[in-house]
């Protein structure tokens, strides 16, 4: 009796083993793909991922399942992705913080070499807005005003190390003026503080802030990108208003673990670019204030390297410390 059940068990094991390796031989993708997102559901990162995932699943022929692993400014999810099996079944939504975390946190991975970058999915800009009571309408007026009142003007941010904070730090770095930083927990409180006048200045993300500006509650001064944003073509950029070379963008990208085979990277790249070009996805992204990009892996890798080095310098100069 014992022997028969052992034989049955062994046969089952063999069959399962064979099935498993057969599955592994099947053409890519043969099973669902994990899409790691470094923030809990609901944040912009998550929403960008969810705007893309359904169509991406359609083109790939397998479901792309979003897995939220929030924590430590997306570094937990990034760490997981860095150490995941490079078989094409794990991809990462590269968060904006990827460029700033190396300077702020202790990381267990190499932000450049542990990844095979696929593409820059979308980019958004921030909009510099001021409280109506602040006597400055343009960037030049703002700089002049700030020079007269060093350290006097309070600006809000959605947290230390976020783009809303670093936009302001870069501005001060490049113009030599000094403001006082008042950090808040997240974009909502930061914006409320600006509207109520608790702070006078804020670099907010375009869609949220533009509404308030159009309603007259705050005054829009300039955008932080290198080109004007299609959502507000009447607003000049900081760069064209007197601080040439100034550029801050919030970048959302996609990457896979470093040793993922080139063929798989190319396949993922091709499909995700198609997704970004499809009208409903690109409209959704634009509604979020993010312009879809979809560049090549080489271009994106160069972009990441550039961002990491740029922000490393700014963070060091501003004396911002993380852990």
């Amino acid at each position: 009796m014992q022997d028969r059940s052992i034989v049955r068990l062994l046969t089952l094991a063999l069959v399962l083993g064979a099935a498993h390796s057969a599955l592994a031989q099947a053409p890519y993708p043969a099973r669902p793909i994990r899409f790691l997102v470094g923030f809990p559901p609901g944040g912009t990162n998550d929403i960008v991922a969810r705007a893309i995932a359904p169509k991406f699943s359609e083109f790939l022929g397998q479901s792309v399942v979003i897995e939220n692993r929030g924590g430590a400014n997306a570094s937990i999810a990034t760490d997981l992705a860095a150490h995941a099996a490079p078989d094409g079944y794990t991809i990462l939504l590269v968060a904006p913080g990827h460029a700033t975390n190396p300077a702020l946190l202790k990381l267990n991975f190499d932000s450049i070499n542990d990844f095979a970058f696929i593409t820059l999915l979308a980019e958004s800009q921030n909009l510099l807005v001021v409280h109506p009571s602040l006597p400055a309408r343009t960037v030049k007026e703002l700089i002049a005003l700030s020079k007269r009142r060093p350290g006097d003007i309070n600006y809000g941010s959605s947290g230390t190390g976020t783009t809303t904070h670093l936009s302001a730090e870069l501005f001060q770095y490049m113009t030599g003026i000094k403001w006082t930083h008042i950090p808040y927990k997240g974009g909502g409180p930061g914006l409320v503080a600006l509207i109520s006048g608790e702070v006078s200045l804020y670099f907010g993300n375009v869609p949220t802030v533009i509404r308030q500006a159009r309603a007259g509650k705050v005054r829009a001064v300039a955008t932080t990108g290198s080109k004007r944003t299609p959502a507000a073509p009447d607003i000049p950029t900081v760069a064209e208003s007197g601080v040439p070379g100034y550029e801050v963008t919030t970048a959302y990208g996609m990457a896979a673990p470093a040793k993922t085979p080139r063929a798989i990277v190319d396949r993922l790249h091709a499909d995700v670019v198609r997704v970004l070009n499809s009208p409903d996805v690109s409209n959704r992204l634009r509604a979020l204030g993010a312009d879809p990009i979809g560049n090549t892996p080489e271009q994106y890798t160069a972009f990441v390297k550039n961002e990491i080095s740029k922000w490393g310098k700014v963070i060091k100069a501003a004396g911002i410390k993380g852990e």
Binding site: R34, V65, I66, E67, T90
Partner: protein, 150 residues
């Protein structure tokens, strides 16, 4: 009054507060303190740790005076088993999948009870695991592997 400190409720509570308060203040020693008008990150935790410690001293002294006992017995075995069942869930979910994790957790937790009937527990495990899989994996589409790791 012969102090049976090991079961003196307020004595132990006070001791616990003292230890936690001291630990909090000690761990915060390297955080910049700042001044009262410009508090640094270390100000609040240090002050709180000290306050907790003072409360602990007060409660401890009170315990020595009143000698009130801890009511009932200490349930170390159920505590250990329940804690173990929770930890095992965390360990197994990623590595073995939700189904094994759920079953193990249920069985170990049930072992903490007074009245452990193996067949009943197994049945409970099957029913509850099925229910959880239906609600969480199919209903809410939580992406946990049912068997095996990701």
């Amino acid at each position: 009054m012969k102090p049976d400190l090991r079961n003196n409720r307020d004595f132990i509570a006070g001791l616990l507060f003292i230890v936690l308060g001291a630990l909090a203040a000690f761990l915060a020693r390297n955080y910049p303190f700042g001044s009262t008008m410009r508090m640094g990150p270390g100000y609040f935790p240090t002050v709180l740790g000290v306050i907790l410690l003072l409360f602990g001293v007060y409660v401890l002294a009170r315990g020595l005076r009143s000698g009130d006992k801890v009511k009932g017995e200490w349930g170390w075995k159920p505590l250990a088993l329940i804690a173990a069942s929770i930890v095992l869930f965390g360990v197994l979910l990623d590595r073995a999948g939700m189904v094994p994790a759920a079953v193990v957790t249920l069985v170990v937790a049930a072992a903490a009870g007074r009245d452990f009937r193996f067949k009943e527990v197994l049945l409970l495990a099957v029913v509850m695991t099925t229910f959880s899989v239906v609600v969480f994996s199919y209903g809410l589409k939580l992406p946990y592997p049912l068997l095996g790791s990701y």
